[in-house]
C-alpha cells in the first residue's frame, strides 16, 4: 500500500466513523421516537381510560345524555388510540389484543349499564305508580273504615298493590345489584386497560432504554474500531513515511558531507521506496559522474601540468639553445685569453732569468772580475737577449695581453647581455628600449644565426615600451630563431630586423628570405603544439607562447609568408603610456 492510500485511509476512517455514528444515532433516534410515540399513545390511552371512567362516573351519577355522548366520544377516541398502537412483539400483541377485547367489553358493559338504567327508571316509575295506587287505595280504605268503624276488612286490591310493590322493590333491588356489578365490571375492565396501557408504556420505555444502550454500545464499538484503525494507519504511516524520511534525511546529510558511498537501501513499494531508489540511483550516477569528473579533473590537471611542463621545456629548450650558444661565445675568448695568459706567465720566467743574468753581469762589472768571466757573462746575457728576441718579445707579450683584455671585455659584454636578456631581477619595467633588447637578442642568438646568415638592422627612432623585458626578449629570440631555422644553412640568407613607430604603437618587423610557410599551415602556426619540426626538435609552443606574451602586453603578432620567398613577422607593442600592462594571468 502506498503512502497516498494510507493517508487517504487515515482521512477516510474518521469520516466513516462520523457517518456511522450519525447513522446509528439516526436509526436510534428514529426508533426511540417511534417507541416514544407508542409510549405516548399508551399514556394517552391510560389517560383516556381514566377520562372514560370519569365520564362513566358522571354518566352513572346523572345519566345525562351529554355524559353518554361524552363517554361514546371518549370511547371512540380510545378506540382510535388503540388503533394507533402497533404490536411488533408477541407480548405487546397479546397485551394489545387483551386491551382491545377489554375495550369492546367496556362498550358492552356500558351498554348493559345503560339498558339496566332504563330498566331501573321503568322500575322506579312502576314503584311510583304502585305507591300512588297504594296511597289511593289506602285513602279509600281509610274513608270506609272511618265510616263503619268496623275492623278493616282485607281489601284485595290493596293487597295486590302491596304485592306488586314488593315485587317492584325486589326487581329494583335486582336492578341495582346488576348495576353495581356492571359498574364493577366496567371498573375492572378499565383497570385492565390501564394496566395494559401502563404495561405497553413500560415495554416501550424498556425499549427506549434498550435502544439507547444498544446505540451507545454500537457507537462505542464504532469509536473503538475506527480509533484503532486510525491508530493503526497512523502507525503504519509513521513506520512507512516518517522513519524512511528520517533515513532519507540522514542520507542527504551524508551526501551533503560528501559521502557518495552512502546508500539508503529502502526497498518498500511506496513512494518513499521509489524516492529512495531514485535517490540511490542518483547517487550511483553522481558517483559515476563524480568519478568521471575526478578523472577528467585529473586528466585536465595532468594536461595542465604537462602543458606547463611543455611550456617550461620550451622555455628551457630555447634557453638551453641560447646557453649552449653563449657558452660557445664565451668559450672562444676564454680559450685565447687563457692561452695568452699562460704564454705570458711562462715568459715571465725567461724575463726573470734574463734580469738575473743582467744583474750578474753588472755585479761582475762592478766587482772588477777578470776578462774571461766577464766575457762569459756578457755572452750569456747576449745569448739570452737573442733568444728572448727570437722568442716571444716584450711587444708580443703586450699584444697578447692586450688581446687577452679585449677577450675579457668580450666575455664581460656577453655576461652583461645575458643579464639584460633575462632581467630576472626586474619582472616589469617601464622605459624599455626595444632596440637595445633586439641588439641583445641578436648578440645572444649569434650561435643560432648560422655563419651564413646576414643580419640587417634597421632600427628606427622608437618610443620606450613598458614591458617585461625577459618575456619580450623571449619572443624576439623565438621569432629570430625561427627565421634562422627557415634559412637553409648551405645556401645562406638574410634576416632583416626593423623597428618603427606605427601610430601609438611600436612595430617590430623580422623578415627572412628562407623557405617560407605554405598557405595551408600558415593559419595554424600560432596554435599550441603545432610544429613543422621533427619530433623532439620543437615543442610547437614557441609561437603560441610568443603570441600569449605579446597579447598580454596589449600587442599583436602576425605572420605573412610565401613559400620560397620567406616570412615576415610583425609585432606591435603599445608605446609607453598608451595601454596599461595587463595583469599577468
Amino acid at each position: 500500500m502506498n503512502i497516498r492510500k494510507k493517508l487517504y485511509l487515515n482521512a477516510v476512517l474518521p469520516l466513516i466513523l462520523v457517518a456511522s455514528i450519525g447513522a446509528v444515532l439516526y436509526v436510534t433516534s428514529r426508533h426511540v421516537a417511534d417507541v416514544t410515540a407508542q409510549e405516548r399513545v399508551a399514556a394517552e390511552l391510560v389517560k383516556g381510560v381514566f377520562e372514560l371512567t370519569i365520564v362513566a362516573d358522571d354518566y352513572l351519577l346523572n345519566h345525562s345524555e351529554r355524559a353518554e355522548r361524552q363517554w361514546n366520544m371518549k370511547y371512540q377516541s380510545l378506540g382510535q388510540l388503540l388503533g394507533e398502537l402497533r404490536s411488533r412483539e408477541q407480548a405487546q400483541a397479546a397485551i394489545l389484543a387483551r386491551m382491545k377485547s377489554e375495550h369492546q367489553g367496556i362498550l358492552a358493559t356500558f351498554n348493559e349499564l345503560a339498558a339496566n338504567h332504563q330498566k331501573g327508571i321503568k322500575s322506579q316509575e312502576r314503584q311510583a305508580s304502585l305507591a300512588q295506587r297504594q296511597a289511593e287505595l289506602a285513602a279509600a280504605a281509610a274513608a270506609s273504615t272511618n265510616n263503619k268503624k268496623v275492623p278493616a276488612t282485607p281489601n284485595p286490591a290493596l293487597q295486590e298493590v302491596v304485592t306488586e310493590q314488593a315485587q317492584a322493590k325486589r326487581e329494583a333491588a335486582a336492578l341495582r345489584e346488576f348495576d353495581a356489578r356492571l359498574v364493577g365490571q366496567l371498573l375492572a375492565k378499565s383497570q385492565a386497560m390501564v394496566s395494559g396501557g401502563l404495561q405497553l408504556a413500560r415495554i416501550n420505555q424498556d425499549k427506549v432504554a434498550q435502544t439507547e444502550r444498544n446505540a451507545a454500545l454500537t457507537i462505542f464499538g464504532f469509536v473503538l474500531f475506527t480509533g484503532l484503525g486510525i491508530a493503526a494507519t497512523s502507525l503504519l504511516i509513521n513506520r512507512s513515511v516518517v522513519r524512511p524520511i528520517a533515513r532519507v534525511k540522514a542520507g542527504t546529510e551524508a551526501v551533503a558531507r560528501g559521502d557518495l558511498t552512502y546508500r539508503l537501501g529502502i526497498r518498500t513499494k511506496d513512494e518513499i521506496g521509489d524516492l529512495a531508489r531514485t535517490f540511490d540511483q542518483m547517487l550511483d550516477n553522481l558517483r559515476a559522474t563524480t568519478a568521471s569528473r575526478d578523472e577528467l579533473n585529473r586528466a585536465n590537471e595532468e594536461l595542465r601540468n604537462s602543458t606547463s611542463a611543455l611550456i617550461q621545456s620550451e622555455k628551457m629548450a630555447s634557453i638551453g639553445q641560447m646557453v649552449a650558444g653563449v657558452a660557445h661565445e664565451i668559450n672562444t675568448p676564454l680559450a685565447y685569453v687563457r692561452g695568452n695568459v699562460e704564454i705570458v706567465k711562462d715568459q715571465m720566467d725567461q724575463t726573470r732569468q734574463m734580469l738575473e743574468a743582467y744583474e750578474g753581469l753588472a755585479q761582475a762589472l762592478l766587482s772588477g772580475n777578470d776578462e774571461k768571466v766577464l766575457g762569459e757573462k756578457f755572452n750569456n746575457v747576449n745569448a739570452m737577449a737573442a733568444e728572448y728576441r727570437n722568442g716571444t718579445t716584450a711587444e708580443e707579450s703586450k699584444d697578447l695581453l692586450a688581446r687577452g683584455l679585449s677577450g675579457l671585455d668580450q666575455i664581460r659584454e656577453l655576461v652583461m647581455n645575458l643579464k639584460n636578456f633575462s632581467r630576472l631581477d626586474r619582472e616589469r619595467v617601464s622605459g624599455f628600449n626595444l632596440n637595445e633588447g633586439l641588439d641583445n637578442v641578436l648578440l645572444l642568438a649569434k650561435p643560432v644565426l648560422k655563419s651564413r646568415i646576414k643580419v640587417i638592422k634597421e632600427f628606427g627612432d622608437i618610443t620606450f615600451v613598458a614591458c617585461s623585458p625577459s618575456q619580450v626578449n623571449q619572443v624576439f629570440l623565438n621569432v629570430i630563431t625561427n627565421a634562422a631555422q627557415a634559412i637553409d644553412a648551405e645556401k645562406g640568407g638574410t634576416i632583416l630586423v626593423k623597428t618603427s613607430m606605427a601610430g601609438p604603437k611600436v612595430q617590430i618587423q623580422i623578415r627572412d628570405n628562407g623557405k617560407g610557410i605554405p598557405p595551408e599551415t600558415l593559419p595554424k602556426i600560432f596554435d599550441p603544439f603545432f610544429t613543422t619540426k621533427k619530433v623532439g626538435e620543437g615543442t610547437g609552443l614557441g609561437l603560441s607562447i610568443s603570441r600569449k606574451i605579446v597579447e598580454e602586453h596589449g600587442g599583436t603578432i602576425q605572420m605573412q609568408s610565401a613559400v620560397g620567398k620567406g616570412s615576415l613577422v610583425t609585432i606591435t607593442l603599445p608605446a609607453e603610456g598608451a595601454v596599461e600592462l595587463r595583469k599577468r594571468a
Binding site: 668559450n331 680559450a335 685565447y336 687563457r338 695568452n340 704564454i343 655563419s451
Partner: protein, 311 residues
C-alpha cells in the same frame, strides 16, 4: 729550419690563431688561416705535418676541411681543437677525418704543445719513411687471412659480420672481455668490431688499453650509446678507426670493416704508420676501474709475450 715540423692552425677567430702561433712559433714552422678555403690553399702549396682546426667556422666547417685535407695530404696529422661538442661532428671527425686527437677549448698550453709535438714527430718520421720506401708498393699477401673479432652481446651483429665476410676472413665472437682476451691469445686478430657496453659492462677501458698495447689492431665501434665525451675518449685514448651507430646499415658496416681490414694490411706493410695511432696514456680512464685495468694489463702483457715468441 727544414728540420722543424710545419703546423697549420685554422680558426675563424683571429685571436685564437694568434695565441696558438705565439705558443708554437719557437718549436714549429707555423702557418695560420682564418678560413677553410685559406687553409686548403696553404695545404696545397706547403708540406704540412700537422693541422689543428676548429670545428665551427663559417663557410667551411672543421670536419669538411679535415676530410679534404685527408684526401689532399693523407700524411698530415689531423687534430680537432674546438669548444663545441657537436656529437655528429665528433663522430664525423672519426669516420671522415680519421683524426689523431680531439682537444677541447679552452686548452692547456702544455697539452696542446705536447700533442702537436707528438703528432709532428710521427709525421716527420713517416715522411722520411715514405721517401725511403717510395716505389716499393704494397705486396700482396694472399696466404694470410685476417681475423675479425666481434665483441657484442647482440648475436645479430656477429651473424651480419659472418655473412658479410664469409670466406674472406675468419669471424670470431666474444660476449665478454674475458672471452675476447682468450681469443686474442690464440688468433691473430686484425679488426675488432665492438660495442661500448657488453653485458652491462663498459668496455671502453678495454678498447683503450688494447689499442695502447696492440696498436696494430684496428677498432670499429658499433653502439647505440653516443655521448660526446665518450666518443672523444675513444678518439684520444682508443684511436677508434670507425664509430657506427646502432641500428646499423649492413652496407655501412661492410664499408667500415673493409676499410679497417685494408688499413690493417697497410699498417702491416708500413709498421711506422702505427705511430699515427699512438694513444694518449690512460690516466683518468684507468683510474675508473683499477682492478679491471690491472687484470687487462696482465693478460695483455702475456699476449705480447706470446706474440714476441711467435716472431
Amino acid at each position: 729550419m727544414s728540420s722543424k715540423a710545419t703546423v697549420l692552425f685554422v680558426d675563424d677567430e683571429e685571436n685564437i690563431v694568434t695565441t696558438l702561433k705565439a705558443l708554437c712559433k719557437n718549436r714549429f714552422t707555423v702557418y695560420t688561416a682564418t678560413s677553410g678555403a685559406r687553409a686548403l690553399e696553404i695545404i696545397k702549396s706547403n708540406a704540412i705535418h700537422v693541422i689543428v682546426s676548429d670545428q665551427r667556422m663559417p663557410e667551411m666547417q672543421g670536419i669538411e676541411l679535415l676530410r679534404e685535407v685527408r684526401q689532399l695530404s693523407p700524411h698530415t696529422m689531423r687534430i680537432m681543437l674546438t669548444g663545441y661538442a657537436d656529437l655528429a661532428a665528433i663522430i664525423g671527425s672519426i669516420n671522415d677525418g680519421e683524426i689523431y686527437r680531439y682537444i677541447y677549448k679552452p686548452w692547456s698550453n702544455k697539452d696542446v704543445v705536447d700533442t702537436i709535438e707528438a703528432a709532428a714527430n710521427t709525421a716527420l718520421a713517416l715522411a722520411a719513411d715514405v721517401v725511403a720506401s717510395s716505389g716499393g708498393g704494397p705486396e700482396a699477401e694472399s696466404s694470410w687471412q685476417p681475423a675479425i673479432l666481434v665483441i657484442d652481446d647482440d648475436q645479430e651483429v656477429c651473424r651480419t659480420v659472418e655473412k658479410l665476410f664469409a670466406g674472406r676472413c675468419k669471424v670470431l665472437s666474444a660476449s665478454t672481455c674475458a672471452q675476447a682476451l682468450d681469443i686474442l691469445d690464440d688468433e691473430p686478430v686484425a679488426v675488432i668490431v665492438s660495442d661500448v657496453f657488453v653485458g652491462h659492462q663498459d668496455v671502453t677501458p678495454f678498447i683503450n688499453i688494447l689499442k695502447e698495447q696492440h696498436p696494430g689492431i684496428v677498432t670499429v665501434v658499433l653502439t647505440k650509446f653516443n655521448d660526446a665525451n665518450m666518443v672523444v675518449g675513444l678518439i684520444n685514448h682508443g684511436q677508434v678507426f670507425r664509430f657506427l651507430g646502432k641500428p646499423f646499415h649492413q652496407a655501412q658496416l661492410r664499408v667500415s670493416v673493409d676499410a679497417a681490414l685494408l688499413y690493417y694490411a697497410k699498417c702491416r706493410q708500413q709498421p711506422r704508420l702505427l705511430t699515427r695511432h699512438l694513444v694518449q696514456k690512460l690516466d683518468t680512464a684507468a683510474a675508473a676501474n683499477p682492478s679491471f685495468t690491472a687484470m687487462l694489463m696482465m693478460r695483455l702483457r702475456s699476449l705480447r709475450a706470446v706474440a714476441a715468441a711467435a716472431r
